[in-house]
Symmetry: C2
Subunit: 211 residues, 2 copies
Amino acid sequence: MTSVSTEPRDTDGPTPATPPTGGSAAQRERRRRILDATISLAAEGGFDAVQMRAVAEQAEVALGTLYRYFPSKIHLLVSALAREFTKDVDRSAIRATPGDTAHERIMYVLNRRTRALQKQPKLTEALVRAFMFADQSVTGEIHEVGTSLTTVIARAMHGTPDHGEVTEEEAAIIRIISDVWLSALISWVTGRMDEKDVEKSIDVAVRLLLR
Amino acid sequence: MTSVSTEPRDTDGPTPATPPTGGSAAQRERRRRILDATISLAAEGGFDAVQMRAVAEQAEVALGTLYRYFPSKIHLLVSALAREFTKDVDRSAIRATPGDTAHERIMYVLNRRTRALQKQPKLTEALVRAFMFADQSVTGEIHEVGTSLTTVIARAMHGTPDHGEVTEEEAAIIRIISDVWLSALISWVTGRMDEKDVEKSIDVAVRLLLR
DNA sequence: GACTGATGTAGAACGTGTTACAAGTCTAGA
DNA sequence: TCTAGACTTGTAACACGTTCTACATCAGTC
């Protein structure tokens, strides 16, 4: 499925590849349709239902075109995840997070997001599995997701939309919280934790880390 | 690759399936050969090189037999991981972990294991990716791995081979440390962290959690 | 308006995980 | 020893991610 060993393989220069912005209007439109189709299929049937032929058909592009835009299924799903997360970041920039303490605010933000994901279990399963399965070639998209998450938590920590300077220590804490959140999400997706467990495990982590 | 939706599919009763113990001597032997072949192929070429036909050939069993023992590639790899981890647990039971503080002892244990994994990057990549990609049907094997890790950390925390009663709080801390360790391992496998980063991120987590 | 290179389309083809099947082999019990 | 049933084997077939190829279309340039 993934081949780390092969060379860059693409000798052609100007592939639209992945950038969300840039390209003609028609291209941005196609990209949007592809990601919409991905989300829609994932929401219905999870990871397995996101079949490249099905995505291409629903997005009304040829299979080759799909692969020109997203070089693999994993890229596709992680890009979809990145797009969704970016929306959240934009929202979180609008106003301050409610809550009196950093703990409360972080829990507010993460729980809100967790519940949103839990409303669409299939979609979440698809996105989380893809994220976890991603290899080296997906570094860019993964990083984008990580940055979104970090930004949102940092904002919640400080309680203001402007993400000021975070100290080394704060950055470390945020990273750990992200790790725990993702792990919990995986456990939930794979049925090893229920919704309560997820909230509790994050709550414990935040409490231990912020004391 | 994975289908959660299908029925149990096996109507026959006495499948050897997965249990490491039980079955005839020949069966235990076959199981061992299969896991050995898996590890060997993974060590050479990582996840992609563990091809079911190749495993079957190297283990000198038919493809159908391989699937009777391990119902999917993911089961196979996670079982291999579980076997390796179990060995570690057995070793850790033999004598007390060196180190004067819980922090030191935990770092000792995790770093030792981390370095062992880093010596075989391809193998680690294969095992970690499989672990992360596992779905509901692999719960049993995953749990086995989680238990091993928890046990080892608990022992290190207390400094004695006998894992006495762990408090709720300790259990929570151990879980978080496991999460961070796994996340770091993934980041390392996918080239987003180097070896130093892995150690540091765990060190920070342990320090923050044990203070 | 014709030419050219990039982009898109349709569909075949290939590789690997997984399943299905027919026939051989081994084991326990009569 | 013979037989029934489970277990193995070898092999074909299928599904889906991915690649490849031949042709159509479109945008920009002369």
